[in-house]
Structure formats: C-alpha cells, structure tokens
C-alpha cells in the first residue's frame, strides 16, 4: 500500500502468472506420478509379499492340548480319568472393579477371602483380555450358586474343560501320584512347545514317571487375532476365503497297571488309622499288586487346585501324608532279614542245619559284659536254625553273626536288593543302607568312627544298627526269596496302549541277577522255617497264619525306634506311641509256586507278628481268592 500506486503491467503479469501455474502443475503432476508409481510398486509389484505379511499379522497359532491318557488297574478298573469340569474364570477387561467383584465372589463362597489379593495381582499382570482362572473345579452346588447370581458378575464365567480325576482318591494316591498345575520349574524341565496348551503335568508317582506316555502330542489351530493378540471370531466371508488350519492333538497313551485295585483296597483298609506302608509284588515277574502308604491324601485336590494354605497344612502335617513311605521310608528291617542271613550263613559255612545252641535270653561277646538281649526275656532254650527262624531267636543269630561277618552279610543282603533302589518305575526311591566295613570307612570322617566294631556286626544280624530298608525293598527281597533267588525289577506299568488305534505294548518282566546260593535244600529249609513262622504251633505269627487255607510263609520283624538302657525293660505301655517299635512283616504265599509277596510296615506298631502279620494275611486272602469280603 505505497503512497504512489505502482504502474502494473497487467498483461505481462498475467502471462507470468500463467507460466508459473504451468510450472507448478508440471511439478505437481511429477510428484503425484511418484506417489502413483509407489502405489503400483506396493500394490501390484510387491503385492504378494505384503499380502503374505498381512496374513502373518493376523493369524496366530494356538496350541490345542492333548487329552491325557487314562490309567487302569490290572482288571481294567479306572484309576485316573478325565472328567469335564467347570472352572471359574475372570476376564479383567470386562470388569470395572476387579477388587469388588472378587470380594463379592468371596461373599457367596466361591473363592476364599485370603485369595483375593493373589487373584487381584494375577488379574493385573498379563493382558487384560486374558482370562484368569480362579477355581479349577466347581462342585455342582457351586455351579448352581453361581448360575443364579451370574447377572451380578459380568466378566466372570464358567468354562468347561477336562480335569484329572482319581475315582479312588486317597486309596491309590501314593501309587498313582497326581497331576498338578505346571510350575516354572516344570517348564524348565519339559519341552515348552509340547506343553504350550497344557495346564497340568504329572508331579509324582505313575503320573510323573510316565509323563511322556500319558501327555500325548500337542495339536494346534490357527486363530485370527488382532494387533493385541486378542482372538476375533472368524466371520463367514473370511472363512470361505482362507480357513485357518487345525491339526488335532494326539491323546496320550492309556496305562494298564499291574496294580490290583481290590488288593490295594484291602491293604488300605487294613492300614486305616495307622502309619506305614504295604507293598505287594508278584514274585514271578516283579509286578506291583498293591502299594499303600499311610496316611494318604486326596490327589484330586492337586488336580483341581488347592489354596496355598491347604497345601501348607498338608505339608506341615506331622504325620506327613505326602511322604511316600512305601518307596521313600527307610526303616531298620529287624528280624525280617533273618531268612536271608540264614542262607548266607549256610552258604559260607557259618552254621549248618543241625547245629543247635542254647538261648538264655541274652548274649555277650567274649571278654565283655555288655548283654545283647533276645526279644524274649527268658530265652528260647535249645534251638536249631529252623527254630531260630520260626521263633525269631535273636541269640542264635548273635552267635553265628561273628562267623558270617559283616562283609558277607553285606554281600548277600545286597544280592537280595537291599541297600540300593529297586528300579521301580517311579521317580524318587530311597536306597536304604546295608552297612559294611568299606561303607563305614567312607561314611565317617573321624578316624575313630571309621572302625567297624564287633558289636555292630551283632546288632546288624537282627537288622538293627545302621541297616535301613524301604518297604518296597523288603517286598522285593522276600519275593526273590520265595522263588529261590530270582529277582525281578519291580514295576507298576504292565502295558500301555495307544488310545487312537488301541495297539497295546506289554512291558516284559525284567529279571535281575540271581542270588548266589545254589543248594536247593538250603532254600527248602529256610522257606519251610518261614512257613513255620505262620503255620507251626511255635511260630511267632501263628495267630495270623494258622487257619490260612493255603501255605503261607513269612517272617516278622520289630524295629527299635527307641533304645532301651541296659538295666531297663522295654515296656510297651509306658512308652509314648511315637517311640514304640515299628512292626514289620514280610511274607509270601503259597509256599510252593508263590503268587504274591507282601511287605508290611506299621510305624510304632510294636509287634510285627501281632500287628503287621494279619495285614499281610488279609492282603493275600484277597489276592488268592479266599476273601469273603465283597468289594
């Protein structure tokens, strides 16, 4: 806006303007051309590549867990199955106030008050659309209670899924073990890809040992997801074009155990209210017929999930219900080793079948005043080897122990499978202990402690002192004894079958090395003496076996928990229950061609012949078909 209006050449100005518009248009068209070329490049030339990438963007592979294999007993009864169950799930993003919802759920008793904080933390972690499982297994009553209240709980829902179920629960808990929710330690051990969709894994027992067979192979399906990984429903127009793929999972193999549920039940019921273990084996092949550890627990609680407080209560129980005494409990075997020692003594010439000695009720080493007592205060009088077994004379064994020697004892007891794990198809088995000079040298640090004392040989001869064995080892040893020296690797799984085509794979018995005693009449005599234990008028366990309709053989044992001072008497009544002797009994039947071998241990049961032997008898009656109890 100058004071003097400039002279404007309108004509040339317009021409200049038009020229500039043309210039701008040309530049614009070139620029637009670049964009169009770019579009052609993206949409025509590289289309395939981008189409693939967009497909990859939206398709996610989701694992489909396989169905876990079933477990049956030897007669085809179901021991472990998968039942449809409803679990309670919460989807955080659909709930405005998770804390409030949780406390209302607690108020109607579906979750516990103490779990609210834990679930709340769980809901805050992870993607908001991902369901959080509050309860794995609701009862019918709880389902009904929730169904009525459902409108009050948006974002909380029941989801069906398969849950492991053990119909006989506590009865078989220690044999089968249980499955539990996958933990981070499990995931370090297992193949993550194979367990992508799996929530539970075998934690103990058969379930744990045969995890590979039972689990099956994971399948997968492609699901359409959005950028956040949330699954979106496939609409028909989409499905028609490219249906997502699905590969079905292969269910796990079904296991057929050698376990006989009826025998197991009898053993369990006989042990009711007691602590201890019963193991029954078929001596001819090592098949486990029953495996009971008491007290037991409910394995279903692990499969359906239990609260941390319930779990710690179970763990803190002083009777240790989770502890599998049958394979992990080690006990002094007591007199149950006498038949095996007798065979060793005969074989090495430490005694013979006719040698007799007089038992006054105690024994002292030459030059010592220390008295090793017989269990029977007055003694057994004049006894031979047969009598010594039948009546369980301790003094006889004290006497011959010096001639056998600890290393020979070690040699033969080891041949019967004591002192090392039996190789049962179950993880975690105790070794037990059969002492020897060599063992003592290695076990102790102080030089003075490394010396083997003669007195230690004496108490070893009645299965006391350092000696320890598991109920399974004792059952396995008496099984080998019953068939004159052939030992088999004990096993629970008799066969497994492919659950798709039904093809069965039988587990063959696995013979182990024989016991190195050749003379048949040694065996005859010792086994006859064991028969006498139950079925002669002087046998220690005649009360349990005299009326048996078959030839039953066995040997009682009593293991000291509490050492009685030299000048004291062991008085059952006066001793606190927890310090009472353990009652042991090993047995087999029939005497000729044995079919079952049983080891029974009753903790603090005081007397092997009085408490443990009847339990073994009941188990055998059941297995051999002489039980009048309807199961």
């Amino acid at each position: 806006m100058g004071l003097i209006a400039p002279i404007k050449d309108l004509r040339s100005e317009k021409q200049l303007f038009v020229a500039r518009v043309i210039l701008s248009s040309v530049i614009s068209i070139i620029l637009l051309g670049i964009v169009i070329v770019r579009l052609v490049q993206l949409q025509i030339l590289d289309h395939e590549q981008f189409a693939e990438q967009s497909q990859g963007n939206r398709i996610r592979i989701e694992a489909v867990p396989p169905t876990r294999g079933l477990i049956f007993d030897r007669n085809g009864r179901v021991l472990a199955e998968n039942l449809p169950a409803y679990q309670l799930e919460l989807i955080p993003e659909q709930i405005p106030d998770v804390d409030d919802t949780l406390s209302r759920l607690a108020r109607i008793g579906l979750i516990k008050e103490e779990d609210i904080t834990r679930f709340n933390a769980l809901a805050q972690s992870g993607p908001r659309f991902k369901p959080v499982t509050l309860r794995f297994h609701l009862t019918d009553d709880e389902i009904a209670r929730f169904a009525v209240q459902r409108p009050r709980f948006p974002g909380v829902d029941l989801q069906p899924r398969l849950v492991r179920h053990y119909p006989d629960g506590e009865l078989i808990a220690h044999a089968i073990g249980y499955v539990g929710a996958l933990s981070t330690t499990d995931l370090q051990r297992l193949d993550r890809a194979a367990y992508a969709g799996t929530s539970h894994t075998g934690k103990t027992g058969v379930e744990h040992f045969n995890e590979d067979l039972l689990h099956g192979d994971v399948g997968y399906q492609q699901v359409v997801t959005n950028a956040l990984g949330r699954q979106v429903p496939i609409e028909t127009r989409d499905a028609a074009a490219n249906l997502p793929k699905r590969v079905s999972p292969a269910p796990g193999a079904n296991l057929h155990l050698s376990l006989d549920l009826n025998v197991q039940r009898v053993a369990y019921e006989q042990m009711a209210g007691r602590k201890g273990a019963v193991v029954a084996i078929d001596p001819n092949n090592g098949e486990i017929l029953a495996l009971v550890s008491m007290p037991s627990f409910n394995p279903n609680a692990f499969a359906t999930g239990m609260s941390p407080s319930d779990y710690s209560a179970l763990q803190g129980n002083e009777d240790r219900p989770l502890f599998n005494r049958a394979v992990l409990g080690t006990y002094p075997p007591g007199s149950t080793i006498k038949p095996m020692l007798s065979l060793a003594a005969l074989e090495v010439g430490a005694t013979n079948l006719t040698r007799r000695s007089v038992c006054f009720g105690w024994y002292s080493l030459p030059g010592s005043t220390h008295r090793y007592r017989d269990w029977q205060p007055g003694g057994h009088g004049e006894v031979d080897l047969h009598d010594a077994i039948e009546q369980s004379c301790d003094v006889y064994f004290y006497e011959i122990s010096r001639d056998i020697g600890i290393d020979t004892m070690h040699q033969y007891l080891t041949q019967f499978g004591l002192g090392s794990d039996t190789g049962l198809d179950m993880a975690g088995e105790a070794d037990g202990l059969v002492p020897s000079r060599e063992w003592k040298r290695q076990a102790f640090r102080e030089r003075a402690d490394q010396v083997w004392f003669p007195g230690e040989t004496i108490i070893a001869s009645i299965g006391q002192g350092y000696m320890l064995a598991t109920p399974l080892q004792l059952a396995n040893a008496v099984a080998a004894l019953s068939i004159r020296g052939q030992r088999y690797r004990p096993h629970l799984v008799a066969a497994f079958e492919d659950s798709v085509n039904g093809r069965r794979t039988i587990i063959a018995p696995e013979p182990l090395s024989r016991v190195d005693i050749d003379k048949p009449f040694y065996w005859d005599n010792i086994l006859n003496a064991m028969h006498g234990v139950l079925q002669s008028p002087t046998g220690t366990a005649r009360a349990a076996g005299l009326d048996a309709p078959y030839d039953m053989a066995g040997k009682s044992g009593t293991a000291q928990v509490f050492t009685v001072a030299q000048d004291e008497e062991y008085n059952e009544e006066e001793i606190e229950e927890r310090l009472r002797d353990h009652a042991l009994f090993v047995s087999f039947a029939p005497l000729e061609e044995p079919e079952i071998a049983v080891a029974v241990i009753v903790e603090n049961g005081s007397s092997g012949s009085r408490i443990a032997a009847p339990i073994a008898r009941a188990v055998m009656d059941q297995y051999l078909g002489y039980s009048d109890v309807e199961l």
């Binding site: 038009v18 981008f50 950028a227 979106v232 989409d238």
Partner: protein, 379 residues
C-alpha cells in the same frame, strides 16, 4: 500458448443453466468444484466408516463436521474478494496475536501447545493456514510483479514470523506447510527462477540447520523413514504396517470393512493420518487412483479459477490455496507410502478431524467467491 482450450475442461460456465445450476449461481457456488469436493467427502465418509471400525457415533461426528465446514464455505463464498482483501491484514494480525497467546497461556494438547480455549477449542495455526497466503497476496496486490528484492524480504518476514511461532509450539509439520503456502504465493507472483534455484541449492545446508533445530522425535521420524526395519515395533511400526496394508490391498482391495490390517488394529492412526492406507487396503489401487483423480481435479479447477481471476490478489490467493491443497495430498500420501517422513498431516477431507476441515472448506469458499464474483470486478 492458448489456455482457454484446457480451461474448457474445468469450466462450468458453458454448461446449460439448469435448475441446479441456477441455484448454485445464486449461492455463489462453483458447480465443478463443489461436486468434486462433495465426491471426495462422500468417499471419505465411506472409508472413515470402515476406519473407525463401524463406530456410527464417530462417523456421525465427522458428518456433522463436514456439514459445519460446508456451511463455512457457503458463508465465505458470499463475501466479495475485495472485501476479503481489505480485511486481510486484520485477520493476519489477529492470527498472530492468537499464536502468541497460545505460546503464553496455551493449553497443553497432545504433547504440544497448539490449542486455545475460547469457548470452543481451536488451533490458531489453522487461521494462519489461510492468513499467511492471504497476507502475502495482499502485500503483492498493488506491487509491480515480478516482486522486487525488498518486497521479497518483507514478505519473507510476514511468512517467517508465524512459521517460527508455530514451529515453537512445536508443530513443525504445520509450520512448514504454512510457510509453503506463503512461498507458493511468491513463486506464482514471479519469484525469479535464479532465486528459486539458489534456494534449492541452499536446501542441503538448510536441511542441516533444520536438523539441529529438530526435536528428538522428529529426528527419529526421519531416521525411521530411511530404515523402517531398524525398529519394527517402535518408530518404524507405523510405516511398516501402513505399507503392508496398502501392498496387501492389491489392485482391487480386500473389500470395504474387510481390511485385516485396519480392522484388526494393526494399522495405527487408521482413522486420521493413515486413513489413506485403510483405503488402499480395502479399495485397492483402483480406489486410490479414483480418489487421487478427484484431488487432481480439485487442484486443476482451483488453478483454472486462479487463471480466470481478474486481480492479482485473487489470482495469487486462489493459486496458493489450490497448490497448498495439493501439497497436503502429496505429503500425506507420500508419508503413508513411506516416501517422506511421518509428519502429522491428515489426508484433506478424508481424515477424521475437526478444525482443519473447516479451514480447508473456508479456503474453497474463497475460491468460489473469486470464481463467482470476477465479472463484477471493475477490471
């Protein structure tokens, strides 16, 4: 050269005057420009419905916004160009004051001070999108063209001051576009070619200076453009997903509402800056070319109006509005296809958003005013 031949393509005057034509004439609206703009709006509404995941409420918001913008266009078209010209310095001054106000008291919106709350929230930089080219055209209106060096310096100041104010907000993208709209006026006014070449030559050191002034996120955007795969889940994510969306659309697209990239939320900012990618995915190359043709027609019609205009102010302003519109289209499409760095420039008339649409349509209102009132001008 005789441009009246090409002009006939864009000319609506020779069409027989129908009832509709009569109405348009009375409302001072330009038929070809209006119809192509409406077509773009319809196109935009269709794409937006898919981009907002069939959210009817959001879609309705946009429709209302378009309506308001169209009303603004209608109103502005009623003002004569000389009236607009006379008020230009006041508009420019008001814009400048508001920009300073924003910097002083401006409300924080989206990480930058761009919004001013005066009853309704709006961005004063929107005013400047029109005020800057208007001011430059106003200044040159009485001057002899091509402009003298002193004129260039003065206009340069008029452009640079609001540009710096907006860049300080910081909104570098808008600032550059506003500067661009002013520069276009100078170029159309006859900026000597040798100066243009000089400016082009100085762009390399200029870019270096600019780099020093950039915020960290802006530098990141440039680096990301050069190599989007360097950070596929971070800064490069937008470009990668956008290219996948467009590329997977192919020639015909995946169909409306069927773009997996857009519908499954892989594509970020799909209803705003990246809506072009949604369209590319669902409507394919053919859809994009149709839209680009409409844009091209709008720009061509605008330039035709500029050439037809009778005075310098109208001519320069109409040319600048048209070419700036093209720059928006180019920058957005080039950004979405990964040709230029990601700057927050929406696709005009299609992207979801408020004030920028009113500004755009107001600009077209000016174009229509220029077209309808030219015969009444004294020249």
């Amino acid at each position: 050269m005789n441009f009246s031949d090409t002009g006939r393509f864009f000319s609506g005057d020779k069409a027989p005057v129908t009832g509709v034509g009569n109405l348009l004439q009375r409302l001072n609206l330009d038929g070809p420009l209006l119809s192509s703009l409406l077509l773009i709006c319809v196109f935009g509404l269709v794409v937006l419905y898919s981009a907002v995941a069939q959210n009817f409420d959001l879609w309705l918001q946009q429709l209302i916004r378009m309506f308001i913008a169209s009303v603004a266009m209608l109103i502005i078209a009623q003002f004569r160009p000389d009236f607009i010209r006379r008020w230009t310095p006041w508009g420019y001054l008001a814009g400048l004051v508001l920009l300073i106000l924003v910097l002083v008291t401006g409300e924080i919106g989206q990480g930058a001070q761009r919004w001013l709350d005066i009853g309704i929230r709006f961005q004063p930089s929107e005013i400047m999108k029109l005020a800057v080219p208007m001011m430059a055209a106003w200044y040159l209106h009485d001057r002899q063209l091509p402009p003298k060096f002193i004129d260039l310096v003065l206009i340069g100041v008029l452009i640079v001051v609001p540009t710096i104010l907006i860049a300080r907000q910081p909104d570098l993208g808008t600032a550059l576009l506003i500067a661009m709209s002013g520069v276009i006026v100078i170029v159309l006014a006859g900026l000597p070619i040798r100066i243009m070449l000089l400016l082009a030559a100085s762009s390399v050191p200029g870019a270096y200076v600019l780099w020093q002034f950039m915020q960290e996120y802006q530098k990141q955007r440039v680096l990301t453009l050069l190599n989007p795969d360097s950070d596929p889940l971070g800064a490069g994510y937008n470009i990668i997903q956008s290219k996948i969306a467009i590329g997977s659309g192919g020639l015909f697209g995946k169909g409306w509402n069927n773009g997996s990239q857009a519908q499954l939320e892989f594509l970020p900012e799909r209803d705003t800056d990246f809506i072009f990618a949604v369209m590319g995915e669902e409507m394919g190359l053919l859809g994009l070319l149709s839209l680009l043709s409409l844009y091209l027609f709008v720009v061509g019609r605008g330039l035709y109006i500029a050439i037809q205009a009778h005075d310098t102010y109208s001519r320069l302003l109409a040319g600048s509005i048209s070419l700036t519109f093209f720059v928006y289209v180019f920058v957005n499409t080039a950004m979405v296809t990964g040709l230029v760095p990601v700057v927050g420039i929406p696709l005009p008339l299609v992207s979801f958003g408020g004030t920028s649409m009113v500004t755009l349509m107001a600009g077209f209102g000016i174009l229509m005013s220029i077209q309808r009132h030219r015969k009444l001008l004294p020249h």
